[in-house]
């Protein structure tokens, strides 16, 4: 994209075979050599664990009852189908993921666009500050936010009351109506920097010449954004959205600290269901079934999204 920039290159052919890497890269199988390290690593450490996890979903394996699993076919899935808690968790997960990923992406994008403006001063400090939430370890962030939103000692409550936006302190995590929203706000706070970081790096790669050319042709800002920026950003957007969606579906850490699925079942999500099954109920078969459902849904989503966005086309 950065065309016609002069890059220092050797004017003579590189002395071979002194540089073996260069040699290797000229072979016909260079593409495979490049892939080999990552493929081996992931295959070695990923294939067996995931396969055994999926296999476990077809077994009955409750550590409290039997030391070895026994094959039961689709019985675990049948149990999930009739379990109302599963469906509540599934519904909550949909809300959690769509609102979470959507809000984090939008906020991250808006901030990245703002940070991308070349003439702003104090950018370095702003950029650093905006990354901080993501740096904070979840255990600290989770407990700090539960303190910030506490109904007795919560600074947020205090500030909102002083500003006149609230009548009295609100127990954000104790009410079914506000619990999910509160957890989403905390997750937004923690994770928007992920998008900001990546989208900003992506924006930096869009050459000015394209914008200048478009302006000369009379395009307005919206057109420039929609027709130039977004398409060029698509690969980065797709990658970051997929990764974030996977993270939201799979990781219950924040939820565990803030509400543990409560109050009632208001913030109960599938990852928490799997976690409870595994580490409070020791029912690994059931946990595996929930996890496999999540895996399948994620695979469907990812393939569909990748296909629709055309990232692996051509």
């Amino acid at each position: 994209m950065r065309q016609a920039e002069r890059i220092a290159l050797p004017s003579e052919p590189v002395a071979r075979p002194a540089w073996r890497l260069g040699d290797l890269s000229e072979s016909n199988h260079w593409a495979y050599y490049l892939l080999l390290p990552s493929l081996l690593l992931v295959a070695m450490v990923a294939v067996y664990p995931v396969a055994s996890g999926v296999w476990l979903s077809f077994q009955r394996y409750n550590l409290l009852r039997a030391p070895v699993p026994s094959f039961v076919g689709l019985a675990q899935y049948a149990d999930l189908w009739i379990d109302s808690v599963f469906w509540v968790a599934a519904r909550n997960t949909v809300v959690w993921v769509t609102v979470g990923a959507g809000s984090q992406f939008l906020l991250g994008l808006i901030i990245a666009l703002a940070l991308n403006r070349p003439r702003l001063r104090g950018i370095g400090l702003l950029r650093l500050g905006l990354l901080l939430p993501w740096l904070m370890p979840t255990v600290v962030a989770g407990h700090m936010w539960s303190l910030l939103l506490d109904s007795r000692l919560g600074v947020v409550n205090d500030v909102l009351v002083r500003l006149g936006l609230l009548q009295g302190y609100v127990a954000w995590f104790a009410q079914a109506e506000t619990a999910m929203a509160a957890v989403l706000v905390v997750d937004l706070w923690k994770n928007f920097p992920f998008f900001t970081l990546l989208l900003l790096a992506g924006l930096q790669g869009v050459p000015d010449e394209l914008y200048e050319a478009a302006e000369v042709d009379g395009a307005n800002a919206w057109y420039r954004f929609w027709r130039i920026t977004l398409p060029l950003l698509t690969p980065v957007i797709v990658a970051s959205v997929i990764l974030r969606v996977i993270g939201l579906v799979n990781a219950p850490d924040l939820m565990i600290i803030l509400t543990h699925g409560g109050p009632g079942l208001a913030t109960h999500v599938l990852s928490l269901l799997a976690f409870n099954n595994a580490y409070t109920g020791f029912n690994f078969g059931a946990a595996a079934a929930v996890a496999t459902v999540m895996l399948v849904v994620l695979m469907v989503f990812t393939s569909a999204y990748v296909r629709v966005s055309g990232v692996t086309r051509e």
Partner: protein, 281 residues
């Protein structure tokens, strides 16, 4: 015409500032609160009236935290594992991502999805197989073992993100380099990587933060006698009946420091990097 364009630009600048200041406040306010809390004694944190600024600021929390058994060691272990993880993930990720970005082979789409599969399964259920594998390999409770577990999870991230960045660099530039006599590897190192610097830097930061803060595998794959890492130390403070706010927040502040340092070093690379004699107007 030019004046109004100037005005429009100024307007956008003001808007941008507004957005940034607002977001900055949202992002930084809880961090500042955490830092302030870390300077208070516990008795001043749990009070009937909220104390905004510490009336009796103290560094005792930091002193106590650092003096606790094993905490400096845990910090060091985290640093080592994080550094190793970043190096391996970048090396492995750059090569894999480049291959997937530039070369078309039949299973490319499926391969990309395959990389993600390990992340699509909740980590809690992957614990046992990985635990057993590391024990069998003799890598349990070693820096290398934990790095191996981390890179397995973070390589897919690096590959996906780096591929996204590589996709935005036109292959014609590498062709030009090869015509000038570069090997393919040379083209990658001299053309693609410099142009992808923002992306590589962003990926490095992402990997570093993920490895630094990772808790579950660190807890299960290490012991206090061995290479226990920092996040486990933080979690240890959350007891069944105790939650020392001062210590926990001090721990949070200490956690951020090295990553901030790393980010500050890498920050330059995130900006429009290469201007080697750029041809401009």
């Amino acid at each position: 015409m030019i004046r109004s364009r100037h005005q429009t630009q100024r307007l956008y600048d003001v808007l941008a500032y507004g957005v940034l200041i607002g977001a900055f406040t949202f992002a930084v306010f809880p961090i500042v609160w955490t830092a302030l809390t870390s300077l208070k004694a516990n008795a001043d944190i749990v009070t009937a009236e909220i104390q905004y600024f510490p009336l009796r600021p103290t560094l005792q929390n930091y002193a106590t935290l650092w003096a606790q058994a094993g905490f400096p060691t845990m910090f060091l272990n985290s640093a080592i594992v994080t550094a190793l993880t970043v190096l391996v993930c970048l090396a492995v990720g750059i090569s894999g991502a480049y291959s997937l970005s530039r070369y078309r082979f039949r299973a490319r789409g499926q391969l990309l999805l395959f990389y993600l599969v390990i992340r699509m399964f909740p980590a809690v259920l992957l614990l046992l197989p990985i635990f057993i594998a590391l024990r069998v390999l003799g890598l349990y409770d070693t820096h290398l073992g934990l790095t191996l577990a981390y890179t397995a999870f973070l390589t897919p991230v690096s590959i996906w993100i780096l591929k996204g960045f590589f996709d935005t660099i036109p292959p014609e530039l590498e062709d030009a380099a090869r015509i000038d006599g570069c090997t393919r590897a040379g083209a990658i190192l001299r053309v693609v990587l410099p142009l992808a610097r923002p992306g590589v830097a962003a990926t490095a930061v992402l990997i570093a933060i993920s490895a630094w803060n990772e808790f579950l595998f660190a807890l299960m794959l290490t012991t206090s006698q061995g290479i226990r890492t920092w996040p486990v130390g933080l979690q240890l403070m959350v007891g069944e009946y105790q939650l020392p706010w001062g210590l926990l927040t001090a721990g949070g502040v200490i956690s951020i420091a090295p990553i901030l340092l790393f980010f500050a070093l890498v920050q330059r690379a995130l900006v429009r990097g290469l201007t080697l004699g750029a041809v401009k107007g």
